[in-house]
Assembly symmetry: C2
Homo-oligomer: 225 residues x 2
């Protein structure tokens, strides 16, 4: 039933504006003639990431699709009204965080990709360092890929170049992708805080630093700012 | 990895306000102590269906969750700006219709269900009379069910009582579910037009009439109005 035609000239990269998806963008640029990115707006904190994603897309000279996904937050907010205790461990997501965020992002990316005749979708999810999130695991991505193909009668391929890489290996990949990729990573935003510069102390900052340290590479973000 | 605990006392029914989902609601009410419904607001025409869905939920004495899903329409509208020719065959969905509508509805239903400790989700999709829609087929539903379980580390069961029934058989099911179900179906809205009464001529009205005629049953909507 599924059309097996696939256009490998084009791809769509889910770009959050962080280190992972920026690395994946440059990986995709090596593989495909035409690359577009898609980024999702879904909360206040995310605005900084949207700005960075746009800056990175412009720097990489690829079209950016900015899609409102605030419904994800509203599904979440609705939890607040339902007698569910709210809690947040330091560095963890609050328990109002909506499950299946990648389900929605990748589904919206798929609808967009199909409209553009694109079959190949990239995402920077990894099951190495973030195994706590079920929607970052390959088993989920495989199942979603099949679901999207069946649900839209279209041939989608979800590519996950970072799936089994450590943060150290990811930095190595970025270095091998060349100085443009490293410059773009210098523009990426990882920090959980909303400051002018990365705080250097939140779990996201610490994880990023550890990766660069392990790879023996200076984080280009620290050179830029 | 997946938690196999399942609470069969509760269920969540995706209720559009039409004949199919109303029948499914009464089917679910026979199976579970507690039933809630979820309905999605996503465009102008749909407002009438929301009103009907609310009326049916109140009549059936079940809580209704009304969720904004206008992003689906916006994903669609965005197609209009992308050099895709717009066309609409009589009675068909326009080609700006967003793929994977049931993907989004069932995913949002799943997030809501998990928040409420519900495992069982009902939908009125059928592959008998609407085989043109890939996201109404059992193969898609099976794959989505697995994807949702993997993506949220939670045990979802998507039940589709109408999947392989003809419209005639569906009317027979509604009759067997009793007079309350038939009264609720009298409140349901199927017509594509926005008039005070069903137009009786659009493909949805014609399909509905044929089902009742084949079953030898008078459409309760025609009695009520």
């Amino acid at each position: 039933m599924i059309n097996l035609d696939i256009n490998i000239d084009k791809s769509l990269v889910v770009l959050s504006g962080g280190q992972d998806s920026t690395t994946v963008l440059y990986y995709a640029k090596k593989q495909h003639k035409e690359v577009e990115v898609i980024t999702f707006f879904y909360n206040q904190r995310h605005k900084k990431e949207i700005v960075r994603a746009t800056r990175i897309a412009n720097f990489a000279n690829v079209p950016i699709n900015i899609v409102n996904a605030e419904f994800i937050n509203k599904l979440s907010i609705s939890a607040l009204t339902r007698d569910i205790p709210i809690s947040q461990e330091k560095g963890e997501l609050p328990n109002t965080f909506v499950d299946g965020r990648n389900l929605f992002f990748l589904s919206m990316a798929a609808v967009t990709a199909k409209q553009k005749g694109i079959n190949v979708i990239y995402t920077g999810v990894s099951q190495s360092d973030y195994s706590g999130y079920p929607d970052c695991r390959r088993g989920f991505i495989d199942s979603l890929e099949r679901t999207l193909c069946l649900g839209m009668d279209y041939n989608f391929s979800i590519v996950t170049p970072l799936m089994n890489l450590s943060k150290k290996q990811e930095v190595g990949m970025a270095v091998s992708l060349g100085p443009e990729c490293m410059k773009a990573i210098g523009m990426s935003w990882t920090c959980y805080e909303g400051g002018e510069k990365p705080c250097g102390e939140c779990p996201a900052c610490v994880l990023r630093q550890k990766g660069f340290e392990a790879a023996g590479v200076k984080d280009p973000a620290l050179i830029e700012y």
